[in-house]
Point group: C6
Chain length 263, copies 6
Amino acid sequence: DFVHALENDIKPAFGISKDEFDSYISNGIINWGQPVNDVLEEGQLRIRQTINGEMTPLVSILIEGPPNSGKTALAAHIALLSKFPYLKFCTAQTMLGFSELAKCQQLKKIFEDAHKSSLSCVVVDELESLLEYAPVGPRYSNNVLQTLKLLLKRPPPKGRKLLIIATATYRDILEQLGLLPSFSKVIHLANITTGQQILHVLNEIEHGFNNDEMKYLEKKLHDKKVWIGIKALLDRIEVARQAEDSSRVQRFLTQLEEDAGMI
Amino acid sequence: DFVHALENDIKPAFGISKDEFDSYISNGIINWGQPVNDVLEEGQLRIRQTINGEMTPLVSILIEGPPNSGKTALAAHIALLSKFPYLKFCTAQTMLGFSELAKCQQLKKIFEDAHKSSLSCVVVDELESLLEYAPVGPRYSNNVLQTLKLLLKRPPPKGRKLLIIATATYRDILEQLGLLPSFSKVIHLANITTGQQILHVLNEIEHGFNNDEMKYLEKKLHDKKVWIGIKALLDRIEVARQAEDSSRVQRFLTQLEEDAGMI
Amino acid sequence: DFVHALENDIKPAFGISKDEFDSYISNGIINWGQPVNDVLEEGQLRIRQTINGEMTPLVSILIEGPPNSGKTALAAHIALLSKFPYLKFCTAQTMLGFSELAKCQQLKKIFEDAHKSSLSCVVVDELESLLEYAPVGPRYSNNVLQTLKLLLKRPPPKGRKLLIIATATYRDILEQLGLLPSFSKVIHLANITTGQQILHVLNEIEHGFNNDEMKYLEKKLHDKKVWIGIKALLDRIEVARQAEDSSRVQRFLTQLEEDAGMI
Amino acid sequence: DFVHALENDIKPAFGISKDEFDSYISNGIINWGQPVNDVLEEGQLRIRQTINGEMTPLVSILIEGPPNSGKTALAAHIALLSKFPYLKFCTAQTMLGFSELAKCQQLKKIFEDAHKSSLSCVVVDELESLLEYAPVGPRYSNNVLQTLKLLLKRPPPKGRKLLIIATATYRDILEQLGLLPSFSKVIHLANITTGQQILHVLNEIEHGFNNDEMKYLEKKLHDKKVWIGIKALLDRIEVARQAEDSSRVQRFLTQLEEDAGMI
Amino acid sequence: DFVHALENDIKPAFGISKDEFDSYISNGIINWGQPVNDVLEEGQLRIRQTINGEMTPLVSILIEGPPNSGKTALAAHIALLSKFPYLKFCTAQTMLGFSELAKCQQLKKIFEDAHKSSLSCVVVDELESLLEYAPVGPRYSNNVLQTLKLLLKRPPPKGRKLLIIATATYRDILEQLGLLPSFSKVIHLANITTGQQILHVLNEIEHGFNNDEMKYLEKKLHDKKVWIGIKALLDRIEVARQAEDSSRVQRFLTQLEEDAGMI
Amino acid sequence: DFVHALENDIKPAFGISKDEFDSYISNGIINWGQPVNDVLEEGQLRIRQTINGEMTPLVSILIEGPPNSGKTALAAHIALLSKFPYLKFCTAQTMLGFSELAKCQQLKKIFEDAHKSSLSCVVVDELESLLEYAPVGPRYSNNVLQTLKLLLKRPPPKGRKLLIIATATYRDILEQLGLLPSFSKVIHLANITTGQQILHVLNEIEHGFNNDEMKYLEKKLHDKKVWIGIKALLDRIEVARQAEDSSRVQRFLTQLEEDAGMI
Ligand SMILES: Nc1ncnc2c1ncn2[C@@H]1O[C@H](COP(=O)(O)OP(=O)(O)OP(=O)(O)O)[C@@H](O)[C@H]1O
Ligand SMILES: Nc1ncnc2c1ncn2[C@@H]1O[C@H](COP(=O)(O)OP(=O)(O)OP(=O)(O)O)[C@@H](O)[C@H]1O
Ligand SMILES: Nc1ncnc2c1ncn2[C@@H]1O[C@H](COP(=O)(O)OP(=O)(O)OP(=O)(O)O)[C@@H](O)[C@H]1O
Ligand SMILES: Nc1ncnc2c1ncn2[C@@H]1O[C@H](COP(=O)(O)OP(=O)(O)OP(=O)(O)O)[C@@H](O)[C@H]1O
Ligand SMILES: Nc1ncnc2c1ncn2[C@@H]1O[C@H](COP(=O)(O)OP(=O)(O)OP(=O)(O)O)[C@@H](O)[C@H]1O
Ligand SMILES: Nc1ncnc2c1ncn2[C@@H]1O[C@H](COP(=O)(O)OP(=O)(O)OP(=O)(O)O)[C@@H](O)[C@H]1O
Ligand SMILES: [Mg+2]
Ligand SMILES: [Mg+2]
Ligand SMILES: [Mg+2]
Ligand SMILES: [Mg+2]
Ligand SMILES: [Mg+2]
Ligand SMILES: [Mg+2]
């Protein structure tokens, strides 16, 4: 069938290389709990809908969650899972210094290219950055907003399919901007909220704490509530490891109390 | 008579082809209930007024309804029903990247062309997009607004007739912008609101659920209240069908609860 | 005397032709009630003041009333009544696509031309459109506003006379913009408010309802309150006439209830 | 002495002609009451201060009063009274269509010219118009505002004297814009407030009412309160005189009730 | 020592001439009370700090007080007292018509020149005017603001010293704009507040009132409270002197009641 | 190890010279209390994390504190401590007069250069100035904000490390602008709050007060509360020293009461 055929042809014909996608997942994907599961499942279902759906040639999802929650890495991961011949990662970082107009043209170009492939997946990372959104004012580029709104709803030519995976940090901003109805589905990616999930992460990374330290941490963390993104957690682990041996674990816990509201 | 003469001459002399209009009705028109009926009836009456009216050479209607309610498809459908020699579909999608000025000129051109045919119908899709309206600020193009206001009220030259069919999602925005008095009539297109209407849709589409599943759905849906647009409903049907056989129906119902407020 | 001399010389020396003015009165002037009378009377008095006044070489009036109340037609009508050698109709419709600056220059040119004739009348239609006023923001062209403010108060050269007739829909907007003190007189044009006035209109138009229908309508309408502009009323008559013979009258009455708040 | 020498040399060396100043006083100055007296007296005192003052080479006054109260005519009148060799009338009317920058340069030029004469008087008419002030927003030209603020406080070169007479309609606007401290003195010009003052005006104009009409008016007006500017009063007199002979007086009184709040 | 060396070299090497500084003190400095004393004392201390300080090569003070309180004259006076080889008076008056950019470049140039002298003093007069501040909006040039903020805190090159004396009318505006922390010291210059201080001024000026008038004024003023700036007081003295001999004193007192809230 | 290798190679390959960094620490670093300690400790830990961390090639800290608290000097000091081969000090002072665009390009260039060195440290001083932030409006450059947001989160190429040290005065502004989540850590630098800390400073500087004065100050200050930045304290010491010998100490104490809220 179609899916099988694709599996033998995963090298992107257009779009950028697998390497770029990998760079957004620099510390891998640690499946630390249900929130990660849910996003992955929805992603897989939407990939199948794009391939098989007869009434919906255009499928678009939005992954939204707090800073550092791992949105970018998960979006890149799902895009790679699709194995579509056209994969494209679209981010404000590569458009730094572009005028509003140049940004809009770049976005238009990316989607026009995507429309040329029979199966395409476009990641649109950090909508707020693309929109140049700033909460004071607030300010944003209405040009980019209008362009995104139209592109997110523009169906590919007859017979072609397009999956869009967008990420955003502030759902309410997108709601106010009227961007949410442009998506088939909006999925929330939650932060890490329990000590158990932190322990799960600590167990999966290579250069963590030693055995004694881990035992101590298990005792201290197993019944705690926290609120921290995976990316921030990895930073706190790293910096704690720079303290003197005797105080590494304590420093880690203190930080969780200060920065992750641990109680 | 006039109408009969027209029926033998349905090929548009100017304007774009029937194909483009068809593309906006990609999944046909399912007459799932009274809201659809009302819009179609008003449309037919206004077509006749345009042809026969002696005091009103310019007739303009606005179809407004929530996202995904099927506005664009119905507007295109009524335009095709008119069989006028000049048909034109006017949408922000084809003006992506245009400057405000270019947009205004394009709109002016379309109406000037329409004024050259003895009987013309212009669809103006998604007024908010044409106006580049964004609720935060709010922002919009006053140039386009003023241009639209004038064009919507500009009578064709003596002896010519023009029917305008516009669509919009947020009636209150247009009200605030003072656009409503520009229309002869504003018609509301409601969302699907009952399980019965959903069953009506399910019965009309080809690749839906199997007989057993339909029976189960009839039992579950026949007395439910929902709120969902026809386009969103078709998406929910498609994605539910991608789940494993055993869970397809349940997934569909869960989604209706989550996304369509089903109770 | 002066007036008599004018009566033999009604062909405008400069300015546009009587035809253009006629086009703004496409369905004639039906004297359906006192509001129409009042405006006509003030108009005639101000024409005389312009001709005879020794202390007021510049006379300016503003006709303001709700959408469709017949402002434009009445302003054009009064201008024609003046029979002044220079008549000019000034409207945003002929300046569509003009830059703010071009608009201001056009306005300035029109008034400079008017200042060249010994007796001139300039109609300035739809002030809000000329000002590009939009209620959201609100936005408007301050350039046009300042230009209009100055032109409305600029006296013609010694020995010349100028009558200005402006129209507007929203008196409070002009009040807020500080435009009202620029006029010698502001006259309100009211909507049709009684069933009797509607019957008056129905009796004056050619292609209305038949005798039986009229009898029925007289019975139904004679004691009703409504609120509808003459232009909207003509539209409702036309569309009702497109319904099947049996339901035309009923459809007309239903519309009056829906759109004209008839009780 | 200095003043005497000036009296023999009243023809302006630079600046515009007496004719232009006269055109702003087209219906003369009728001394209808104390408010007119007060303004004239302050004007004369400030003329003397400009000529004789040793510590104040720059004197600036602002005449502010409601629309039509006669500000422009009084400012022009006082300037003529000064008989200074350099007289200049500065108004937005002659800068219609100028860019903000061009306006500022023109203003600067006028004051630089004034600084070249040993005794100069500059009238700055309608500050709000020069500032392009519009109350909705509000909007105004900050460029013109800053330019005016500086020019109003810029002393002439050593040994030269400058009198500035400005007019404005809305004192509170200038207060908000911070323009008031720029003036040595702000004088209020009140509207006509009593029937007696109206009778004073009627007695002074040529083409007013006949003797019988005047008697009737004296009886009706002598104990009334009104609120109307001299310019509007002259207009009401003119328009009333256009009515039929029998109704002229009554029409005049009705208008005073409607437009001048007469009780 | 250093100071002594300077005293023999007071002619400015760069910067403008003593004449310009004198022109800002056209009526001299009358030491009418403690507020004047305080400002002068702080000025002298800061001059010494600039010369001798080892840790503070940059010293900046702001003199703020109501309109007409004498800020400009005192700032110029202190600058002259410093006898620094580089003196520069920086005012919006000399930048009238400059673009924002040109203003910023001029300011930058002035400070760069100041940095070239071993001891420099720059007066920055009327910060609000330089900032093009207008209270309605409010509006101001953020370019100039940012430029001033940076220049006010930019230390001169190693071994050089810079004293900045700025003036402003509205302390709260500068506070809101965040300019206050840029100054080492903010000094308030108060208005004249007692009749005694007015008498002090009257006794010091040449062309005041005669002996009898002064006696009368002493009796009337010695126990009064007022609120008036020195510059406005000098204007009131001048204008009162233009009245007839018999009413000069009374006019002066009336004005103090009206304009200086005398009680 | 790595650190050791670096210690033998502290001369910056690119970036600016140690001299520039020294100029920001013109009066040295006086360790007057715990707040200084805390910032230094966090700085050292983050330097180690940058060098050794395996999961965090990009480390960024923000030092925020009131005006004059010593932020700039401490940031420069920590950067020098890192001894990284690429050191760069980035400040609005060197971009005075740059357009927004030029600023963004400069910032981009600095970070692109930093990405070329295996170990880099970039100081970004006074974020508010770079953003051209003004509290009235408020106004700021959204271009610079978006550029900074992206640069602060842009990881260096594989195998390279980057430490960013930013300073800011108003934490809440950065919070509102959404800049805080861009930092790995935000550290508060407090003002001097006790008389003891002032005494600590007085004891460390060279040209302070003499022994008797110090004894008196110790008695007066040892139990006081104050609130003053180190930079302002040094200024108050300098200016007090300019007063006559007898009043120096008293003047110093009075100032602390007036400007540092001493009680
Ligand atoms: N389950 C996971 N989901 C996402 N990222 C993970 C997961 N486990 C580990 N990671 C690692 O955590 C980091 C997540 O960073 P990422 O940039 O995706 O976060 P983000 O939410 O996009 O951050 P930001 O709010 O700054 O955009 C990556 O380095 C990734 O390899
Ligand atoms: N009764 C119906 N009315 C309208 N569309 C229908 C109907 N039945 C089926 N459809 C199908 O539903 C879809 C309606 O989509 P359409 O784009 O018109 O919705 P819309 O309201 O314009 O959406 P949007 O808010 O995004 O503009 C089309 O694919 C159309 O073929
Ligand atoms: N008494 C009347 N006064 C005005 N118009 C009349 C009258 N009787 C009939 N009409 C007709 O009604 C129509 C009035 O339309 P008109 O464009 O003048 O309305 P309007 O108030 O200017 O509308 P809008 O608010 O759109 O500017 C014209 O076709 C005119 O011929
Ligand atoms: N006492 C008077 N003071 C001023 N104008 C007078 C007086 N008596 C008669 N007039 C006449 O009244 C008219 C006053 O008009 P003017 O343009 O000065 O009014 P204004 O207050 O400037 O009006 P606007 O508010 O439109 O600027 C002039 O024609 C003038 O000749
Ligand atoms: N003690 C004094 N301090 C300041 N000015 C004095 C003093 N005594 C007399 N003067 C005179 O008063 C005038 C003060 O005017 P100055 O322009 O300095 O006031 P200002 O506060 O700067 O006014 P503005 O608010 O318009 O800027 C000058 O002419 C000056 O010579
Ligand atoms: N512990 C300290 N921390 C910081 N600076 C110190 C310290 N001790 C002495 N100093 C000196 O104090 C001054 C601090 O000035 P700096 O410019 O760093 O302050 P800042 O907080 O950046 O000021 P601003 O708010 O104006 O940016 C420098 O001259 C520095 O040498
Ligand atoms: Mg991300
Ligand atoms: Mg649509
Ligand atoms: Mg009209
Ligand atoms: Mg005037
Ligand atoms: Mg001053
Ligand atoms: Mg600093």
